[in-house]
């Protein structure tokens, strides 16, 4: 009569070692991927938008990307912009908690968790040439300029060109062609 086959603890330990061993160092989890992609998009938006001259105090003043909300995208942005310079402006990432900090930014990203508080902030940064980017259903309806939308597992974005124009920003046609049609 064969002996009972319980899974011996040794098997589990060996398998666990197997599982972790050799799994390549260069891996990442899926939720992180979404934010890494959005961080790369944010950097690209900065490339294809023109701010009015008065937004930069001097020729090599930093281009400030403000982040309201998730610390995760903050880290990916830091990593993405490390040492990068756009048109002589070094790119800098800042955590933003209120409107006065938001006004100083060139690009302000509002995470979906912050969407509840974004209304007043969007209103207050209106006159300050800030490119506002969000990732919630009604972001554009509240006055936001660019909104991330996930369609068929691809990260896409919609642009409210009028809002951007009113804020004194010029969006390159290249960015406009890749945006989703604004009436969805």
């Amino acid at each position: 009569m064969k002996s009972r086959r319980r899974i011996r603890p040794g098997v589990i330990i060996a398998a666990a070692m197997l599982g972790t061993l050799g799994w390549c160092v260069t891996v990442h989890a899926d939720e992180a991927l979404e934010y890494r992609v959005k961080a790369a998009f944010l950097f690209n938006f900065a490339k294809f938008v023109e701010w009015p001259a008065q937004k930069f105090t001097q020729a090599d003043a930093p281009l400030i990307v403000g982040v309201m909300g998730s610390a995760l995208i903050n880290d990916f942005l830091e990593e993405a912009v490390q040492g990068k310079v756009l048109n002589e402006h070094p790119v800098v990432i800042k955590r933003v908690g209120n409107a006065s900090e938001g006004r100083k930014c060139h690009l302000l990203f509002v995470c979906r968790s912050e969407n509840g508080r974004s209304g007043p902030i969007l209103a207050q940064v209106k006159g300050d040439n800030v490119l506002t980017v969000g990732e919630s259903d009604n972001f554009v309806a509240r006055g936001g300029m660019i909104n991330f939308v996930t369609i068929n597992n691809n990260v896409r974005f919609e642009i409210d060109a009028t809002a951007a124009q009113k804020a004194g920003l010029k969006i390159s046609s290249k960015l406009m062609t890749l945006a989703l049609p604004s009436s969805r």
Binding site: K2, R4, R5, R6, I7, V11, I12, A14, A15, A16, L18, G19, T20, L21, G22, W23, C24, V25, T26, V27, H28, A29, D30, E31, A32, L33, E34, R36, V37, A40, F41, N44, F48, G69, S70, A71, L72, D75, A80, V81, K84, C111, S113, E114, G116, R117, G119, D137, N138, A141, T150, N152, N153, N154, V155, R156, K174, L175, L178, R184
Partner: protein, 671 residues
């Protein structure tokens, strides 16, 4: 399993991992995460980011869903050579699919009683419920309505789902999402050949036009001889216990989907015939007369639109199910000779319904979902008769109706805490009302960690077969009540460094009013009578590499107990272990994919043990090596393990042995 076999598996894994690790080497250190800012905007829009739609009917990222969720992608299906939905589910933590040579039965978290028809798992295809009203079956093998190649992803949502989905969402909801025409250039032709003369062919046409019109049409055929000689020692008196050439299986299926703008029209059909070699229910052994035919079809029309301020989804559906069963009974006639009398089941059912859903964000912090559903099962006919001489034992039709309202609120309390609360009220014309709430608190204490605390209840309504089937040996019970489950679950998900994702789920289920057969003076009647507790822990570890190396490993400890007897349930292994490893051998073109599944012993109905077993599957998969061609070669049960699942009451066999080593070759050509 012998230590030699185990050591060779370990060696195989090391070789694969070493190969995978060196695949990207250019002499220098392994590539770190590539700089995504180097990519163009167009390239960024192409990157695939997985998400989950089933958990609470919103588009939601896996870590935010109010359940323990995992996703099987189409890449997994092709790379690991999954032949059926059952194959795919067997790779999932806490899942176990047993097979009795007729149907596959999905067990979740230790619960898979032999003889149950599987109505405690809800299977959806693009939101359309597949469980039928007669037996509640959750078809997962060759009787499943879709060819696996049409699947974009499978979302497995563990835990009670009745607060949104109602009936059958007892242990888990499996949401199968199909591909779209836009996923194809113009179409695909696929063919495969495997052990036992198994052939499968598929032709698909799919295209997305400039105007946005998206169409997809596909048809598949399948045929296998099955195992030619099956030995069952319990039947040694007849033909030495050998069932010869009685394991055949065949199906044909169609799928179509047309979408334009906010409208989608979708339909599917499958008809599958299985020869059954095990001679259950006292039928004649080694007689070719026993077969079951399951036909399932649906058509649905869906409208979805995001208005200014609220979202709307409206859909209407029509479903069809038909079961035909032929059972050969040996009777001694007046002439003292044995005659075979065929007893036949003819069971057609049709139902139609509509569902409406509204979503709206209130007070900036609440995403609210409100839904209503109405369903009319206007045909649920059960007929049973002897073919010749014609004697009718049962001929009854029991139409039923149901309606339901459900409400769910996803409340963002702070940037790290959200509460997902919901409840559903169902009214059934058969038994009345049931109310099922669910609450989940989702907390991100720091960026890479998620903790979820979940409480919920779910139900399974008594089906037409349990309530109304009548025969000389079985009596009806129209006053059956729904089964109930109450679940507490705690889930922790953690990103380990930037490379691994681990999760730990601990659950406690209390199941009551289980519908079981009871012997009432020689007459079998279904009663609400059993109470079961099920508790366990599921540990999983997952990672994905840039070069395509990926892996998933899970270990579950599960304990089930019948509260009346204090005994562990039958067919409930105490431990399950699974490992999936996908290794790129050459760029993103050639992959070696290994699967290892192990199960502890299971109790059978006779109180004996079906011994624990290890299964190893391996697939070599290639894509883009030759233009437009995908090729794969798979070996299943590589080490030819001898194993079986416990039989049910209707089987004389205590354990039903499963297949040994099998192989499959598959080619897919896209045009």
């Amino acid at each position: 399993m012998s230590s030699i076999r185990f050591q060779s598996i370990v060696a195989l894994c090391f070789v694969l991992i070493a190969r995978g690790v060196s695949a990207e080497d250019a002499g220098a250190a392994l590539k770190l995460q590539p700089d995504l800012t180097e990519l163009s905007l167009e390239q960024l829009t192409q990157i695939q980011v997985p998400s989950v739609t089933g958990a609470s009917k919103f588009e939601q990222k896996e870590t935010d869903a109010p359940s323990s969720v995992s996703v099987i992608t189409e890449g997994d299906i092709q790379k690991f050579g999954y032949r059926t939905l059952a194959d795919a589910l067997r790779s999932e933590a806490g899942f176990d699919v047993s097979y009795d040579r007729d149907y596959g039965y999905i067990g979740v978290r230790g619960f898979n009683r032999p003889g149950d028809y599987g109505g405690r798992v809800l299977i959806l295809v693009d939101g359309e419920q597949l469980n039928e009203p007669i037996y509640d079956s959750a078809f997962n093998m060759t009787d499943f309505i879709l060819d696996l190649d049409l699947i974009e992803r499978i979302e497995i949502i563990r835990g009670p789902g009745s607060s949104i989905y109602g009936d059958n969402a007892f242990f888990a909801v499996i949401n199968v999402v199909t591909k779209s025409g836009g996923d194809f250039k113009n179409g695909e032709l696929a063919g495969s050949y495997g052990t036992y003369n198994t052939w499968q062919e598929r032709l698909t046409f799919g295209h997305r036009f400039e105007s946005g019109l998206d169409i997809l049409f596909s048809g598949s055929l399948y045929d296998t001889d099955g195992a030619r000689r099956l030995h069952y020692k319990e039947f040694d008196a007849v033909n030495h216990g050998v069932a010869q050439g009685l394991d055949g299986d065949r199906f044909h299926s169609f799928f179509g989907k047309v979408s334009y703008g906010d409208l989608t029209l979708e339909g599917a059909y499958v008809s599958r015939k299985k020869d059954v070699p095990t001679a259950p229910f006292g039928t004649a052994f080694n007689d070719p007369g026993y077969n079951t035919v399951d036909t399932r079809a649906f058509v649905n029309l869906k409208y979805e639109h995001q208005f200014d301020g609220f979202g709307l989804m409206a859909r209407t559906y029509y479903d069809y199910y038909r079961f035909d069963g032929d059972y050969p009974f040996a009777m001694i006639g007046a002439d003292q000779l044995t005659h075979i009398i065929i007893n036949r089941d003819y069971v057609p059912a049709q139902w139609a319904g509509a569902e409406l859903q509204l979503t709206k964000t209130l007070f900036d912090r609440n995403r609210v979902l409100l839904g209503a559903e109405y369903r009319d099962t206007f045909q649920a006919l059960q007929q049973n008769y002897d073919v010749s001489p014609r004697t009718t034992y049962l001929d009854s039709n029991h139409p039923t109706q149901r309606c339901a309202f459900y409400l769910q609120d996803e409340w963002t309390l702070s940037d790290s805490l959200s509460l997902n609360v919901g409840a559903r009220y169902d009214h059934f014309s058969t038994f009345g009302d049931t109310f099922n709430p669910r609450a989940a608190l989702i907390y991100h204490p720091w960026k890479a960690t998620t903790v979820k605390g979940i409480y919920g209840t779910a139900f399974r309504a008594p089906n037409t077969n349990e309530s109304y089937y009548t025969s000389p040996t079985q009596g009806p019970n129209p006053s059956l009540q729904p089964e109930k489950i109450r679940t507490f679950e705690l889930v922790g998900e953690q990103q380990l460094g930037k490379y691994f994702q681990a999760s730990l789920a601990a659950y406690s289920n209390r199941i009551s009013k289980l519908i079981s057969e009871e012997d009432d003076n020689g007459l079998i009647v279904f009663q609400n009578r059993d109470n079961v507790s099920a508790r366990g822990v599921e540990m999983t570890l997952e990672s994905h590499a840039q070069n395509g190396l990926s892996g998933r490993f899970s270990y579950t400890l599960q304990e089930t107990k019948d509260l009346a007897t204090g005994l562990r349930l039958s067919n409930s292994p105490a431990q399950l272990f699974k490992l999936n490893l996908s290794v790129p051998f050459y760029s993103d073109k050639v992959f070696g994919d290994l699967e290892l599944q192990a199960s502890a012993d299971r109790r059978t109905l006779l109180g004996k043990e079906a011994e624990g077993f290890y299964l190893v599957n391996f697939t070599l998969f290639t894509q883009r090596l030759l233009p437009n061609l995908e090729l794969s070669a798979s070996v299943y049960n590589l080490f030819n393990a001898h194993y079986g699942y416990p039989g049910a009451q209707e089987h004389l066999q205590d354990v039903i042995t499963q297949d040994g080593r099998m192989f499959r070759l598959k080619a897919t050509y896209s045009f």
